[in-house]
Symmetry: C2
Subunit: 294 residues, 2 copies
């Protein structure tokens, strides 16, 4: 039994996240056509017998569902609206799913463009990192109408362990923005508490153990707290990405809705400081380094 037997899916963007997601769809029986900027990656997919397309338009041409998993809004705009982009190739009734983290404003603009071309937009950003992508255990936050969500639910079930239909189009990206705000600020909370306790001579491993199971406990205390203790700042989630996500949340909330987010703003400034220190490509748990400066 394969969950997606005969389903025509185009997959655009085969980076660290997209590659294992595409392979999971193939394993589940989807008839896959892939496209990505890097020719070597494309060849590697061809070598294992997966159909490739030279442009996003060609990949989208035969697909009922087009999934996009690219790095940022600029790349997304390119594969969607650029030359030989998805809009150029897709038929009517195609469902276009953006699984990257995209601003709410851009999401609405792209959703309109796809609808004008006769298609449907779904925003479905994920959390859970490359490990979640490989194991098919991503958390997926979906913005779509009830009907559209029902039409693609089985695809999300292959990719994720926790699929939440948050609300209409753009709700997925709003949930992802909330996710990134809480993650970015909680890293700051743990970094600040650890810096205080470390300077006072408390062993951080014992502190973390003392806080485990209480109200201060969190996924961040466990995972990112451990990284801070071990000084292991291999990314995971990069500082520059965290900074970008906080900026997008601020732009949307303060700029578009007039809801002030003072802690989010301060957290963004602290990540900025880290970027000015030359540490933008480290894991966001490296925020603790800001507290070690004079």
């Amino acid at each position: 039994m394969t969950a997606l037997s005969g389903e025509n899916i185009a997959f655009i963007g085969l980076g660290l996240m997209g590659r294992p997601m595409a392979l999971n769809l193939e394993k589940a029986g989807a008839v896959l056509t892939v496209n990505t900027r890097n020719p070597e990656t494309l060849n590697a997919f061809e070598d294992i017998g997966i159909a490739t397309a030279g442009t996003p338009a060609d990949a989208a041409a035969e697909a009922d569902i087009v999934i996009i998993c690219v790095a940022d809004t600029v790349a997304l705009e390119n594969v969607l609206l650029g030359e030989d982009g998805i809009i150029d190739g897709m038929e009517e009734d195609t469902i276009v799913i953006d699984m990257g983290t995209t601003s709410v404003e851009a999401t609405r603009r792209f959703a309109d463009a796809v609808e004008e071309a006769g298609g449907t937009w779904i925003d479905a950003p994920v959390s859970g990192g490359t490990q979640g992508a490989e194991n098919g255990t991503l958390s997926i936050m979906v913005g779509a109408s009830k009907e559209d969500f029902a039409r693609v639910h089985r695809v999300f079930d292959v990719l994720g362990a926790r699929v939440t239909h948050v609300g209409d189009v753009s709700s997925g990206q709003i949930a992802k923005a909330a996710n990134q705000m809480i993650v970015g600020i909680t890293i700051g909370a743990v970094a600040e508490a650890f810096s205080m306790a470390d300077e006072a001579g408390v062993e951080l491993e014992k502190l973390r153990s003392a806080l485990t199971g209480g109200f201060a406990d969190s996924a961040i205390l466990q995972k990112h707290g451990e990284r801070m203790i071990e000084r292991n700042f291999e990314p995971g989630g990069k500082v520059v990405t965290q900074r970008k996500d906080l900026f997008q949340a601020l732009e949307f909330s303060e700029g578009e809705m007039g809801v002030e987010l003072p802690i989010t703003r301060l957290a963004m400034e602290l990540y900025d400081e880290l970027i000015h220190m030359g540490d933008g490509d480290l894991d966001h748990s490296a925020l603790i380094k800001v507290y070690e400066e004079d």
Copy 2:
């Protein structure tokens, strides 16, 4: 089998936390003498056959271990160093355990006073609330020498489910300060993310569900997030207490050690705003109300 058979313990402070803790010690076989400011509470203990003392000095006179669980540093100073205080009554070699949340500076001062009187100080603040106190499932963060910790470990095992020997005297209070910083800031993170999403029309219960299990998940998202959604601000932990704990952390870290805590400071200012709105006695999850003001 009773864990504390024949152990002479004085218990000072029979408030919401102290009362169930004292009863758990009695159940475990301790020979208890209790003291508290409220005469009615004292009578109630006498009525169930527990020895009472009119002053902290009298309570401490026969005890090997004196446990203090009072509301704040002023009350602690009174029962310890005031007229007919513990220091006046205790014998040499008495172990005095402070289970309240006390500033690091005051802890060191009180520890010195008890040591001068021939006794030993242990700081053992707790987290887990009245429910944890009743069920004997508190998290206890202990600052003590290895030897002293070993001497009283069995008492903590009766009161708590998670007992961590963090380090030497005052380390327990440093861990508690770190706990309160993380709790206070994480509440801010969740309040800010919820306010943004709510204004954007996302259903908060669905948002919380979407974030559950990912990096944004925490005890605060689950417990205090639920309170925000249900608008149930019955304390739990009061705003004024949270504010006091953040102030103590700042005073210690910035004042005594020169480690700046910008997010903690901003969080304290937001709790101050809530106090100025007249909401100081609500649960700290009421911080979300600050974001609803103009």
